[in-house]
């Protein structure tokens, strides 16, 4: 909520400032939006996220002047949006809808984009050279200039949507509303369009986008509004809004939220419903590392088995999964060798378990103790070996020797599925 609070009570803003104040919208029976509050500043990219029917589109419609709220007020630069003539409003605000009417299809791309200029043309007036220049620029920005003389009907869905975005840009708006404008497009085109959106925002345009895809929203928005059943349940920076608790509340699903290692954007993975079945009292212990433990932990938990894990450091994605499932875990700080305290905790978990799984992890001086602990499992140990140990050994041959001994005495699997099957039958 931080960003919103800073706004305080100040009324007057610069050009292109939208304010939504205590807005309620009803359809015949349903309460589509309840007490919505929002202030949008120039240059800001705001993502509206939430499940279907949560009120994203309703909010877009209300702001764009086509769905008058029953309660509350929406202002643009301090003036009620519903008191502004459509033409004047269209000079400042453009909307890209989800899809376009088919009656439109005989117009050429250029004609359609030129229509974006109509709010700027006087009644009975004609297009000026400036109008054509702006149109040309919009065509180029959205990379549809090469289709200028083609009919809309001849384009693919993605190209068509870019044309509609070009038309919105031709309006030279200060505020751009996107109502799931990219939800039907290929991922590559989505990225292109949102890259464009970022450039527009950099030039001072405020963008409000209803976005279905949480990862896309997390990657491109400065700020997110999470809606659920007509209520804005969270408003703020991406990391404030996309928490596991919020996602569970709005979507009713579990999610894994982490920073993506490459883009540093938040990445959300939705997980299947986690309903532990009849947990057996017998536990399977997984020795994780470098993300190799996660799929095994996930698979075993999904089978309804009781799982423990260790030793894992807190920066490892295996740790996230273990934490997510709330399993017992021996945890070490990042970049530290396994301390004897944590090691003995791990050994205890191993002794309690009836099967111990050693995944295809790498070994270095820091986690060599994990391999030593595995040796204590004796014939309870099963190994998943996807690549030869030689390629995974970063100790001076110590791990290889130890691993070789272990390998002699226990079952070795080369595929995750067969390993899980074995564990399941062994316990079940």
């Amino acid at each position: 909520m931080g960003i919103l609070e800073k706004e305080g009570g100040s009324e007057i803003g610069g050009p292109g400032r939208v304010r939504v104040d205590g807005v309620d919208c009803y359809y015949v029976e349903t309460h589509a939006l309840n007490n919505a509050q929002l202030t949008v500043r120039p240059g800001e990219v705001i993502g509206l996220v939430g499940p279907n029917g949560s009120g994203k589109t309703t909010l877009i419609k209300a702001i764009s002047g086509v769905l008058k709220p029953q309660v509350g007020i929406i202002t643009l630069d301090g003036v009620d949006v519903y008191q502004i003539k459509p033409k004047r409003l269209a000079q400042q605000m453009a909307v890209v809808p989800q899809s376009t009417d088919t009656f439109f299809f005989d117009f050429t791309v250029e004609e359609v984009v030129l229509m974006g200029r109509s709010p700027h043309i006087k009644f009975l007036g004609t297009e000026s050279t400036n109008d054509y220049d702006v149109t040309r620029k919009a065509l180029e920005m959205t990379d549809v200039a090469q289709f200028a003389d083609r009919k809309i009907a001849e384009l693919s869905g993605g190209e068509r949507q870019r044309v509609i975005i070009a038309r919105a840009l031709a309006q030279e708006p200060k505020i751009l509303l996107l109502d799931e404008a990219t939800s039907q497009l290929d991922i590559g085109i989505k990225i292109e369009i949102f890259d464009l959106v970022r450039r527009l925002a950099a030039s001072g345009i405020a963008v409000i986008a209803a976005i279905h895809d949480l990862n896309l929203a997390a990657q491109y928005c400065d700020r997110l509004l999470l809606l659920n059943r007509g209520e804005i349940i969270a408003d703020g920076a991406v990391e404030e809004v996309l928490t596991q608790e919020h996602i569970a509340e709005a979507f009713g699903v579990s999610a894994l939220v982490r920073k993506h290692p490459i883009t540093n954007a938040f990445s959300i993975t939705l997980l299947p419903h986690h309903t532990p079945g009849e947990r057996s009292s017998e536990t399977v212990h997984v020795i994780p590392g470098g993300g190799k433990g996660a799929p095994i932990i996930h698979a075993l938990v999904q089978k309804g088995l009781s799982v423990s894990a260790g030793v894992v450091n807190t920066l490892d994605s295996d740790y996230d999964v273990a934490e997510y499932y709330g399993i017992e875990c021996a945890v070490e700080a990042p970049f530290s060798p396994i301390s004897s305290e944590v090691d003995s905790r791990n050994v205890q978990l191993i002794q309690e378990a009836c099967i111990v799984v050693l995944p295809n992890i790498c070994f270095g001086p820091a986690n060599l103790k994990n391999l030593e602990a595995a040796a204590l499992a004796g014939d309870k140990l099963v190994i998943l070996e996807e690549t030869p140990i030689e390629s995974r050994d970063f100790t001076p041959g110590v791990a290889q020797r130890l691993y070789g001994d272990l390998r002699e005495r226990c079952l070795v699997f080369t595929e995750l599925a067969t390993l899980v099957e074995h564990v399941e039958s062994h316990i079940g």
């Binding site: 419609k61 764009s64 002047g65 086509v66 008058k68 003539k85 459509p86 033409k87 004047r88 409003l89 269209a90 000079q91 605000m93 453009a94 909307v95 809808p97 376009t100 009417d101 088919t102 009656f103 439109f104 005989d106 117009f107 004609e111 359609v112 229509m115 974006g116 109509s118 709010p119 043309i121 009644f123 009975l124 038309r167 309006q171």
Partner: protein, 334 residues
């Protein structure tokens, strides 16, 4: 450029059609003679024609041909406006109840014996406005109108007005003949006084609709999109529905119910002008004029010694075309 060339060609065809419309009839009057008779109205020329020929040209055929031109143009432009407003290729004044409403208004005063240019047009206009706005009001959901409801209520209201007209015919007595002939749609009664009323109404109506050509283009992308592009949608609908009611009212008042012109013409014209209303509206006006002049020529020459109501010809052309439209679009609708 291409647009202007199209309009020029259509204007040329229209001019030729007017000449032929005046020349053709039980008595053939060659174009040179027509030119001479008309020139004589301004500058006295050598007489090469009989008094009867002058009367046929000036008092009978010329007003009739002009009337065909005006009514054809008016109905075509009304059809263009309605198809764009309701984003429906099957919309026209006839389908949406405006024609039957106007017909009922006119039939009511005619059955009361008030057959005059003073009473019939206002009554027809009132009927058209009532029908159009009833249909419009019935189709409103919240602050907007729904297209499918609009068409359904148009059909319902058309049926209602047709029943009322039938009732009027049933009880008409001595006015029956007049009522029936008028109702079938015909141009035979055309007189200069009618042209004098029809001309300004249809000219102004066409200009008003043309003034909103840009907005009509935007309407094609959907009402919300149109509004997002600055169109005051509900205002536009009201202005154009009143305008269309005037045009249809005056056409029906003098020529009865002539169906399908408003439906066919915009579709045919779109095939060579494209969807842009800046070209579509003037081209439809010209083409509508041409179509009705020729329909009238056929109506009065098909059966020697007698003439058919022109509404029969337009219906014979229009109904199969309507079926063709349904056929060709059945994949796109639903």
């Amino acid at each position: 450029m291409k647009r202007n060339a199209t309009l020029l060609v259509l204007a040329g065809i229209l001019f030729a059609s007017v000449v032929i419309g005046v020349a053709v009839g039980p008595v053939w009057i060659p174009p040179q003679k027509i030119a001479a008779i008309l020139t004589n109205l301004v500058v006295p020329t050598n007489r090469t024609w009989s008094e009867a020929e002058a009367i046929i040209v000036y008092q009978i055929r010329l007003p009739r041909t002009f009337m065909a031109l005006l009514v054809g143009a008016g109905l075509a432009v009304a059809g263009v406006a309605m198809q764009a407003l309701f984003k429906n290729p099957l919309a026209d004044p006839y389908v949406l109840g405006a024609s039957s409403g106007a017909g009922f208004g006119a039939a009511l005063v005619i059955s009361l014996g008030l057959v005059s240019a003073i009473f019939v047009p206002p009554a027809a206009f009132a009927g058209a406005v009532i029908a159009t706005f009833t249909v419009y009001a019935l189709s409103m959901i919240g602050p907007r109108s729904s297209v499918s409801l609009l068409l359904l209520s148009g059909i319902a209201l058309s049926t209602l007005f047709s029943a009322l007209i039938s009732y009027l015919m049933f009880v008409a007595g001595e006015n029956l003949h007049q009522l029936v002939f008028w109702l079938m749609g015909g141009l035979w009664a055309s007189r200069w006084e009618y042209v004098e009323i029809t001309f300004p109404v249809i000219l102004i109506g066409t200009i008003v609709i043309y003034a909103y050509a840009r907005d009509l283009n935007l309407m094609l992308s959907g009402e919300e999109s149109a509004q997002h592009l600055g169109v005051a949608v509900e205002n536009l609908k009201k202005i154009l529905l009143v305008t269309v009611s005037f045009v249809v009212g005056v056409a029906v008042a003098f020529c009865g119910i002539i169906g399908f012109v408003g439906l066919i013409v915009p579709h045919v014209v779109r095939t060579f002008t494209g969807p842009d209303h800046k070209a579509l509206i003037p081209a439809s006006a010209l083409f509508g004029g041409i179509l009705l002049i020729w329909a009238d020529i056929i109506a009065r020459s098909a059966i020697p010694g007698s003439e058919m109501p022109v509404g029969i010809i337009t219906a014979l052309l229009g109904a199969p075309f309507f079926m063709y439209l349904v056929w060709s679009r059945r994949k796109n609708i639903f």
